[in-house]
Symmetry: D4
Amino acid sequence: MDAGKILDDFRSGVITREQALERLNILPYEDIGFAKLDHHRQLRRGGVETVFCAGKTAEQVRAIFERFQAVGDNVLGTRATAEQAEYVRASMPQVQYDPASRLLTLVRGPKPQIGCVAVCTGGTSDLPVAEEAAGTAEFFGARVKRFYDVGIAGIHRLFACIDEIRTANAIVAIAGMEGALGGVIAGLVSVPVVAVPTSVGYGASFKGVAPLLTMLNSCAEGMSVVNIDNGFGAGYLAARINTLTEKGHPS
Amino acid sequence: MDAGKILDDFRSGVITREQALERLNILPYEDIGFAKLDHHRQLRRGGVETVFCAGKTAEQVRAIFERFQAVGDNVLGTRATAEQAEYVRASMPQVQYDPASRLLTLVRGPKPQIGCVAVCTGGTSDLPVAEEAAGTAEFFGARVKRFYDVGIAGIHRLFACIDEIRTANAIVAIAGMEGALGGVIAGLVSVPVVAVPTSVGYGASFKGVAPLLTMLNSCAEGMSVVNIDNGFGAGYLAARINTLTEKGHPS
Amino acid sequence: MDAGKILDDFRSGVITREQALERLNILPYEDIGFAKLDHHRQLRRGGVETVFCAGKTAEQVRAIFERFQAVGDNVLGTRATAEQAEYVRASMPQVQYDPASRLLTLVRGPKPQIGCVAVCTGGTSDLPVAEEAAGTAEFFGARVKRFYDVGIAGIHRLFACIDEIRTANAIVAIAGMEGALGGVIAGLVSVPVVAVPTSVGYGASFKGVAPLLTMLNSCAEGMSVVNIDNGFGAGYLAARINTLTEKGHPS
Amino acid sequence: MDAGKILDDFRSGVITREQALERLNILPYEDIGFAKLDHHRQLRRGGVETVFCAGKTAEQVRAIFERFQAVGDNVLGTRATAEQAEYVRASMPQVQYDPASRLLTLVRGPKPQIGCVAVCTGGTSDLPVAEEAAGTAEFFGARVKRFYDVGIAGIHRLFACIDEIRTANAIVAIAGMEGALGGVIAGLVSVPVVAVPTSVGYGASFKGVAPLLTMLNSCAEGMSVVNIDNGFGAGYLAARINTLTEKGHPS
Amino acid sequence: MDAGKILDDFRSGVITREQALERLNILPYEDIGFAKLDHHRQLRRGGVETVFCAGKTAEQVRAIFERFQAVGDNVLGTRATAEQAEYVRASMPQVQYDPASRLLTLVRGPKPQIGCVAVCTGGTSDLPVAEEAAGTAEFFGARVKRFYDVGIAGIHRLFACIDEIRTANAIVAIAGMEGALGGVIAGLVSVPVVAVPTSVGYGASFKGVAPLLTMLNSCAEGMSVVNIDNGFGAGYLAARINTLTEKGHPS
Amino acid sequence: MDAGKILDDFRSGVITREQALERLNILPYEDIGFAKLDHHRQLRRGGVETVFCAGKTAEQVRAIFERFQAVGDNVLGTRATAEQAEYVRASMPQVQYDPASRLLTLVRGPKPQIGCVAVCTGGTSDLPVAEEAAGTAEFFGARVKRFYDVGIAGIHRLFACIDEIRTANAIVAIAGMEGALGGVIAGLVSVPVVAVPTSVGYGASFKGVAPLLTMLNSCAEGMSVVNIDNGFGAGYLAARINTLTEKGHPS
Amino acid sequence: MDAGKILDDFRSGVITREQALERLNILPYEDIGFAKLDHHRQLRRGGVETVFCAGKTAEQVRAIFERFQAVGDNVLGTRATAEQAEYVRASMPQVQYDPASRLLTLVRGPKPQIGCVAVCTGGTSDLPVAEEAAGTAEFFGARVKRFYDVGIAGIHRLFACIDEIRTANAIVAIAGMEGALGGVIAGLVSVPVVAVPTSVGYGASFKGVAPLLTMLNSCAEGMSVVNIDNGFGAGYLAARINTLTEKGHPS
Amino acid sequence: MDAGKILDDFRSGVITREQALERLNILPYEDIGFAKLDHHRQLRRGGVETVFCAGKTAEQVRAIFERFQAVGDNVLGTRATAEQAEYVRASMPQVQYDPASRLLTLVRGPKPQIGCVAVCTGGTSDLPVAEEAAGTAEFFGARVKRFYDVGIAGIHRLFACIDEIRTANAIVAIAGMEGALGGVIAGLVSVPVVAVPTSVGYGASFKGVAPLLTMLNSCAEGMSVVNIDNGFGAGYLAARINTLTEKGHPS
């Protein structure tokens, strides 16, 4: 039901003036409002949906996957536990679960991956966040290259691969503890760097506050920050920039 | 001087084995390292330099502008005071100063501006940060559209212009106090949103901590955050995304 | 025993001057003070008592319920565990327990519910706090409408029900993460909004500090805030405003 | 222009189908959206507007007052400086300024004040915040009773007036330093208490954080909290509750 | 061995000049230093020792108790677990353990208790801290009166016993959540009040920070504060003031 | 007017039963309540009053001093500015002002000072707080000995005077920066130590937070803490303990 | 493979110009860069490697130990759990594990230990951190003397051994709670003091923040601070200073 | 007067047993304690004294300089204002003042400077702290090399001088904003790095908290941290390590 049909039905007498007004009244929220938003979400996601699984029961996660499956969407579940994954996969074996990234994915058809997103970490302990970022970027259509354990305590490791990192359209820089990786990379490249502080560390790292502040205060240009441990957010954003770079504005 | 020439000179006897080794030894840092970085900076900036004027004397700012002018770069000075501007312009009248954004600019030749960056603010008090973002984005080659005072306390103001905002390649969302603007916009668009918390507010805003936390915790996809009041950083990043979208990767 | 009787007994010689003085001395605290307060508590609660069960043993909770039952009060226990509930219900099967809200209730006779309190949440994870608020408001005599998962990341969901929300006499807005729900609602309605930050989130949400600050800094008029996860406090306050709106001042 | 007229004009041929669709398209935001909100704001404010003057120039404040005057609204400016007031009053002498509360008001016709809001403070230093709350409540139609300097360090002062405080429909409790006033009052009354922490104090008061936390943690029922020093917010909310109590829901 | 004996032995030829110097050399630390301190500790403690059991193994706690028993001291162990207590009591059955206060005590002979220390709590959840304070004060020779659950949310409960509280030489005021109890009591009495914030609460109580700040900011005279949950420290200090009041300075 | 007179007047017919009840009704707050508190305040203060001058106008301070003078009290004004002092002394030349401590005092007749309070500071910059503490303790009847600049960075300075410090009935230990003075002294003496953190320091002292935390965490027995820079509170409390030690409980 | 060999092979025709260039190309990062760093690391570590075991699987830890063993290095694993240790030692029984310090070490040949590092603690609960510091310093070639439980609450204990502490080339001062130990020692010695705050404590110690701030604010000269509980960092640094003192600069 | 002389005088009858005891009694504090400490301070400082001028009057600073001059010490005043300097130099023209570092120095005879301390900064705004560190290190006998503006945003600047930095015996790394400089340097060198966070920055740098946390969390070995802006402390410590390296332990 859209405004044009309401007008037509009204003029043709199928509906009365009162009925036309009533339908137009809910239109802004249901059709123009709601559907418009849906339209945009479809545009930018390419027919996929995401579910934040943390804090949901296995039953809830399965129900959500089933609903989205019914409408034909690809689905990305983040922060899924092994228990949630097992429960969902019992009835939907085509759903994939990756324990490292805790991503639960339902993908139909081949996934074309374009461009390049580089995912870099300061240490090996940042791997779960990094895999969440990488898996998310791949889910949203980006080719991903991983550069793990290239932290600044041994900065030669970073330099050994900086030229390859530079070929990416967007870079996700993940680091805990002092969190300086993002700033160092941003000073060496010309594409956007999405920095992710992680809760890796102890004592005065305050569960990620230290790297968060480090990243926010970086004077290297072209870097921005997402929440502590938010690999999903960084991967999504990097994939968006990657797509924009490869395909231009979706207007 | 590059490695190939060193090899050739060595084989032809122009230089000794010791000389060849010595030159190869400094190569990584002086030539490949240092010059490579310079090369990249030129690439990504298109012949411009930036100066953070806060905490510098007027003499220092002028000296820096003069040095960059000598090498033919465009120069962008941020957080310049009226005193610094007056002092610099006394000897370099071609330098422009904008009191609202506190930007001090030296631009030669016409500035082509492409694509679109949208700069949105929650209230009128966020204007200085917004102008810094807008002016920076323009300096780095973006066409900028301003949407000021569209905060969520009267969300209809935002809705009245959301379709126009959606046409931008990147959006800068600036807000103090509760700082919810970025999350609302990110939920309505499909391009990257760079959120800037501002120190506008009082009491429990803690000079920008409240909107900073709001923005970091947003569950809207596609948004990242820069430091409190960092209009420059947001403008630069949005301009980068804008350029990538319009022109693709600079490889 | 009241002051009038003391005066009479004194004049009639039943008690001496010393006895009269002694009795008058304790009157302000025992009779006028204590009882006066009790009288007020009865007035405002309508014969109900509340018990904060967290940190109490199952034995203590049962003893309190039994004492209040003996004096004929309705009783509301908050933050009760399943173990506490099971123990209490073993001897008092008429006590009800709701695992979602963790409310333990003893209610005699029909509960008339008047007016309307709207309980809104940003996400599904806020449900326990929301049910605590809703159950509390119902316990204190309010009709409650629930609007769950209407957070601002998909603001069309909120708009689809805003007109119904507006019919409430008071609104409880519950949100974790960025916590912007309350401010958006308060900008759209004309009745008091009681905002409840929740500890839902991770990283820089700091267990509810982020939404707490968001809510305190909202520039939307007509909103106030209670402690993190304090669904009870919000439900109680909303029910009070609901009662005042329906019945006027209890003087 | 409303939807009904569009339908009529469409059916009568005054506008084409395309024109009808185009007009309906902007309706949700300009008419239904925007005007609907306006309608609500009119309802809840009774034809008044508020301006947060802090951070605005005297010229901006005057321009806003003049604009609202033109449409016939009463106007309340908060946190106005003496300079702003003087500048506005130079051309609009009917505007009133109260230095204690820093409120700048433009009121036409008699202001009926109904019900009762009690404004209580812990100390004399809280007076500016208290006057802002009281003046705001009066502006929004509440009769206000002031109970200043009744802090808990000498709790007999509070008890001497608690019965009178109880007659109010809503109570604003303002306190700095330890900030316990709100909780003590809320334990003694049956109407909503809006607590306002103030930045009065030194050392570990951390500019109002200490009383803010005190108030958020109060276990007295029926109290909620607004931002530090936010007398306006508390006065507005108390006036709303007062109006609801006296007049019922504005539906 | 003391300096006088060294001098006598030196003069009488029992020890040589070198031996005398050597012994005098360690005297400042072992005798004058160490023993002097011991002497003072003996004076102020009356032959008792204290052990902070948290973080020690059961073996360590038992070893310490045995050592002190060997020298005839009374011993007070704080924060002892049931496991530690059971292990110590297996070989030292005369040691007493109180699960509520977690105090582990070894007392020989009758304990005379003089004067009066009042221990007050805001709620029943503060009981473990209160019992630690009370048990400590008793161990150090004070008669203790307990006033539990007299928090300010129902201030009449406090008033019902304030006159009895006033008879104490020192008062321990224990409260979590908003923590206002200490300030209210200090405003009503004339003896020192030692305030103890507790970690009882949730959300913005931040594990005791809220009541700690409340207590530090109280403008009631005669109150001081100890660490969160530090019942021992408060009980010890109150007992000291009690002893000073009853017996004067121990010079 | 007291309860006894009301009883007598009632029995003798001077007042009616209604008049007697009315007067008894206000008695708890005006006479028994208020006066009882006054009585206690008189007891513990010996006919003196205190005024926190910060944030008051010179006119207000003078008015308060004049009112207290009229009823014959000694008066202690704290945190008085030179301007306030000059204004008060213009009409009340007998008022004394001490710029170091910022104390403004009105004292009639000789001030007997008994016992001993030791006031110790870590550095010379703590002097203003120390003089406030010392002056307050003297005002409330304590003999005061000052031990300034005995901080732990050169701990021999403290040891040179520790025996004299031990003769005091109560010790005020004042320190900024690391704030360890209190704990060291408390480990060496047997009387109560009131620790005062000061805002002296820079960087990570956070305006007194560092020494505040140091003092709260001291494991030395017999120490408690007051607010940052609260010399008055410490001096008052030490004087109370001094009086209790010299004179016993004021019952 | 080094640059010299490449040059020789190139001149002698063993490799072509292209091959020479290719190998030189990776040399800056693999050989000159990487190996240069390695060379430095070898110099300062004397053929040892360190592994931060926390957050690694037992398999990962074993693999790293095996790799380093293969190249002949001594290996120091920190924060190893008993499970990790057991797993590693199953296949490498020559690896040693110390549960107190959680250090896992692989040492070949005799370990010469020179000079002296003093490791001091405030209390017995700081022992795990102290043993990590001591074991690390020993691993890196320092003779270590332990001075445990010499905290300032009983400062005579420290004085009894201060002369022996002074003989060390570097001192590690470890303390939780108030954390004053480092400042007191630094005021008494002339060599560098590395202070380690520990998370030992409760309440306002905030898991080590209190002693961290104490140490940062110390005005004793010659002290610096490492992260909370970072015994490894302090032991490593003290061992470095010890080696420099004994052997001079490694140039 | 020492213990040996007391023994001799006692045996020879020059002093009585009581006199001997009395003299021995003060010996630990006046002679062994106090003088021993003095002796150590002389040893480690080489006849110099330091004065923290901030918060002192010009008169106090001059008096301290005059007293130290009288005993022949070199004197170093830190954080001296121009006013203090001018006042001191009016009567002591031989005192030198350096506005950049705010150091006020009195030096007699030639200052031999040995070894090398490297002082590095991230940006030009860190210069005042850097000069304080450099001037302090020079005052305490170190040769100093300055490496300013080598921050990680353009890491090639650091690499261009890293080999020269490596020749120092100790390195002071000074940085504000993100503060990553210290960690990067520590990963590249083998000598101790003393990191100094500065208050340079804005927004989420929180006046130096961000770089402080960065530095504390660095996983680079061999680095420790001093207070925000504490150039003096870093310079003193680096000079100590430099002296130890050049001359060995001062025993």
